[in-house]
């Protein structure tokens, strides 16, 4: 294993023309980038832009359809993590690659010794791990079970794993997504240390603050392509936010709203460890957008409002009566439409037909049921109506729903709720994983519902989408909601600051100064 000495002209890492397709989606489109020795490079982009796919290819989890990877000048055989590890590449995954039931030491040691040894050299490994931990300031109890560690500690183990394997190129995928502010500070101090010691680092993020503070260079990725490269010193948050988010396809435009009575109200809602003191109010004919990075409590909020979960604290009112928590039937009969965050597992049952999925949540009501018997004809007719009205393509009522593309499944999910003319629509990450055309269609429907007088709650991590669709916006960070801002008074910069981890008070203050 040859390592190029520091200061050498050969780049530590060189990706050329990487292209990768998953089914219909082009995740990486001819991406090329390079990383110099001792440099910290940030890959910036929104969720779904293709950053993780790119790094997974580098690390050997996937094989690219085209393109090559060179580490320290030598070609890296694709598709084998072992080869990447041997070449000195270490990856700290976003969703940790750890066995919860094993200890820190065991997680680190896996795969490091020959499988034919009679005994594991634990004492040596322990010593080596301790050395590395001290060298980089990553203290962890080697015998602790990973299941008992905090998220920050688990990340430390992930990093230690990479360093233990003599990585001198470290890839970190969204390293601060689940860290507290202090833990993030510590991490960046560690990264600075590592750079001093000769490591080269790539980190993936969408947090503008951190990217600017920690990186030397920033590559912006959007829609699977590299759109820009900047030196950190030569750019600012505003420019990066715009580069990250820019769109070209025509999206529907929002007409001014005329909000009616309050439909849904939350006061002090809390779910243990996930949501704290949530307040919001939603009126008929209004679209409230809740913007935030994944993992800040949106899933729990979405589940609560869709009736699959209960709150531990606070009050929630719907149409001036207590919200029927955990009672899906009641919600559906009250006229609440729900679009779940996880289309694949919650939104549809893949092996069932389109018509069965179309009516399942209403299967107990007539005309879909009579005397305990499913009225398939009525259901099929209903499904055909939905298909026609909501432009669902790829299959008829009798086809298995998993044959349809994600966008079409989403159109059906949306359609089955909208067709019933709901008074409240909960849409959680409705455009996640969809192509441009499907996104535009979904947006149109959401605005249409709003125009028809429904109250719409949109939970999203797409800044642009929230700004285009919402009348008012609240940011969710670490389980807390900011005060609402009128969209007219907000801009990408303010919101980017709010969701990127600046304290809510600061962000609201900034928003307030603009609101004047």
């Amino acid at each position: 294993m040859q390592r190029t000495p520091a200061g050498s002209a050969v780049p530590a890492l060189e990706l050329s023309g990487i292209t990768k397709r998953f089914g219909d989606t082009l995740a990486n489109d001819d991406i090329s980038l390079s990383l110099a020795r001792g440099e910290v490079l940030a890959l910036l982009g929104e969720n779904g832009a293709g950053k993780t796919t790119l790094m997974s290819i580098l690390f050997g989890h996937y094989t690219p359809d085209a393109g090559s990877v060179r580490v320290n000048g030598h070609a890296l055989p694709p598709g084998r993590p072992r080869a990447a590890i041997a070449a000195g590449v270490g990856m700290v995954h976003q969703h940790f690659s750890l066995a919860a039931n094993l200890s820190v030491l065991e997680n680190v040691m896996t795969g490091t010794e020959s499988l034919w040894s009679w005994r594991s050299a634990r004492a040596d490994a322990r010593r080596r791990l301790a050395d590395i931990a001290v060298r980089f300031g990553l203290q962890v109890d080697a015998d602790a079970l990973v299941a008992d560690l905090s998220v920050g500690e688990r990340q430390r183990v992930e990093i230690l794993k990479a360093l233990y394997n003599d990585a001198d190129i470290l890839i970190l995928d969204e390293p601060t997504a689940v860290l507290t502010d202090q833990e993030a500070e510590r991490l960046f101090a560690t990264l600075r240390d590592m750079r001093e010691q000769g490591l080269s680092i790539v980190f993936i993020s969408h947090k503008l603050d951190q990217v600017l503070a920690a990186a030397d260079r920033i590559t912006v990725i959007r829609g699977g392509r590299v759109v820009a490269e900047r030196r950190a010193a030569a750019t600012d948050k505003a420019e990066l936010a715009e580069l990250m988010v820019g769109r070209t396809i025509e999206r529907p435009v929002r007409a001014p709203s005329r909000p009616g009575a309050t439909v849904l109200q939350a006061r002090g809602i809390g779910i243990e460890r996930l949501l704290h003191d949530i307040d919001f109010a939603l009126r008929a004919g209004e679209l409230l957008g809740i913007i935030g990075v994944s993992g800040n409590g949106q899933s729990a909020l979405g589940q609560l409002l869709c009736g699959v979960r209960r709150a531990d604290a606070g009050t929630l009112t719907l149409f001036d009566a207590p919200f029927p928590q955990g009672d899906v039937d009641a919600l559906v009969s009250l006229g609440v439409g729900r679009v779940p965050e996880d289309r694949g597992s919650d939104g549809a049952i893949g092996d069932m037909s389109v018509w069965e999925n179309a009516i399942l949540e209403r299967a107990g009501q007539s005309p879909f049921q009579r005397g305990g018997f499913v009225q398939a004809k009525a259901a099929r007719r209903h499904a055909a109506e939905l298909i026609q009205r909501f432009d669902v393509r790829g299959g008829g009522p009798d086809h298995r729903i998993q044959l349809l593309s994600g966008g079409n499944i989403q159109k059906l999910i949306l359609g089955r709720s909208l067709h019933a003319e709901p008074r409240l629509l909960i849409a959680a990450q409705p455009t996640r994983g969809l192509d441009e055309g499907a996104i535009a269609a979904v947006h149109e429907r959401l605005l249409e519902a709003r125009a028809n007088g429904a109250a719409v709650l949109l939970i999203s991590e797409d800044l642009d989408e929230v700004m285009r669709l919402s009348d008012r916006i609240q940011a969710i960070v670490k389980g807390r909601l900011s005060d609402p801002i009128d969209t007219e008074q907000a801009d990408a910069r303010t919101l980017g600051l709010m969701i990127a981890g600046a304290s809510i008070a600061d962000a609201s203050k900034e928003g307030a100064t603009h609101a004047v």
């Binding site: 066995a99 039931n101 896996t110 794993k161």
Partner: protein, 313 residues
């Protein structure tokens, strides 16, 4: 009181070790499979086949250890079949295992019937003889218990210790545990979870078969249908009870055998009063209780029963 006197008899404890032996092998075998991430419900059938083939090999003139080896080899073949279906093809581990149990048992009966046409009493062979260990046999009480054990029983205990060493002190054992906890993580660190799973299922099934062979080569000396009597399922329950640790599996098997041996002796004491069937039910009911007790507490290998498909994250 007679009930306590039973506990004091060396005969009881000697029986405990004997009864425990097939359970130890079976539980260790199932444990190894599950540690790697595969639930092997073929155990009942594999034990049955092991019992048959071990006996048949000896009946044809081979020595006892060759019989044990034959059982191990046969078990490995069934393990290969199971792994091919569940690891390579990702088929349901539940249904595949049940299918193999039914297949292995019926093939066992078939081959046995071919080799030994129906006669009055099934033919017998010379089983393993008890081994006297020079130093140990002089210890009072314990000595007589240990001196009435056959070689396979010692082998069972050694296997438990060896497996504990393997799983917790060797790199291979760590790779196995990682494959059963998080195969994607294992793969990311250069371990091949597919090969590990196949290997473990094969060796584990071999052990199960040896457990069955004990029944015909040591405990009894002939083979008859339904002789395994659900021991395989008890072993599956014992794996949970042992929290997937070989040392505890050994303990669990012994504890279980104690109940079984005790109940046998209790029958002679209370037989007139309490129907014998109630005694016979004890092992099965206990197994269910063990499962319930351990249900929430056990640290299940997180990757158990989740098929691993490379390239999907």
């Amino acid at each position: 009181m007679e009930l306590l006197e039973i506990l004091a008899s060396a005969g009881l404890w000697a029986a405990v070790l004997r009864i425990a032996t097939p359970l130890i092998f079976g539980t260790l075998g199932a444990l190894l499979c599950e540690r790697a991430g595969v639930l092997n419900l073929g155990i009942e059938g594999i034990m049955t086949f092991g019992a048959m083939i071990g006996w048949l090999t000896v009946f044809q003139g081979a020595d006892l250890w060759t019989g044990v080896a034959a059982a191990f080899a046969a078990g490995m073949l069934f393990g290969l079949l199971h792994a091919g279906m569940t690891v390579n093809l990702g088929l349901s581990q539940h249904v595949t295992g049940l299918g193999i149990t039914l297949f292995a048992s019926s093939v066992a009966y078939y081959l046995f019937r071919l080799a030994v046409p129906v006669a009055g009493t099934p033919p017998t062979i010379e089983p393993f003889q008890p081994i006297t260990v020079p130093l140990l046999s002089s210890i009072p009480f314990l000595g007589s218990v240990l001196s009435s054990q056959t070689a396979p029983t010692w082998l069972a205990v050694l296997t438990a210790l060896a497996m504990a060493w393997l799983l917790f002190r060797t790199p291979l054992g760590l790779a196995i545990r990682m494959s059963g906890e998080n195969p994607e993580a294992a793969e990311a660190q250069g371990v091949d979870p597919v090969r590990i799973r196949i290997g473990c299922v094969m060796v584990g099934s071999g052990l199960m078969a040896v457990g069955g062979a004990f029944l015909t080569l040591s405990a009894f000396n002939s083979f008859f249908p339904t002789m395994v009597q659900g021991r395989g399922w008890v072993c599956i329950a014992l794996v949970v009870f042992a929290s997937w640790r070989p040392g505890r599996a050994l303990f669990g098997a012994l504890l279980f055998a104690l109940f079984d041996a005790y109940q046998l002796r209790l029958q002679t004491v209370l037989g007139g009063v309490v129907p014998y069937q109630l005694f016979l039910m004890v092992p099965y009911v206990l197994s269910i209780v063990a499962l319930v007790v351990m249900a929430r507490r056990a640290r299940v290998p997180q990757g158990l029963m989740k098929p691993y498909i490379k390239g999907e994250r």
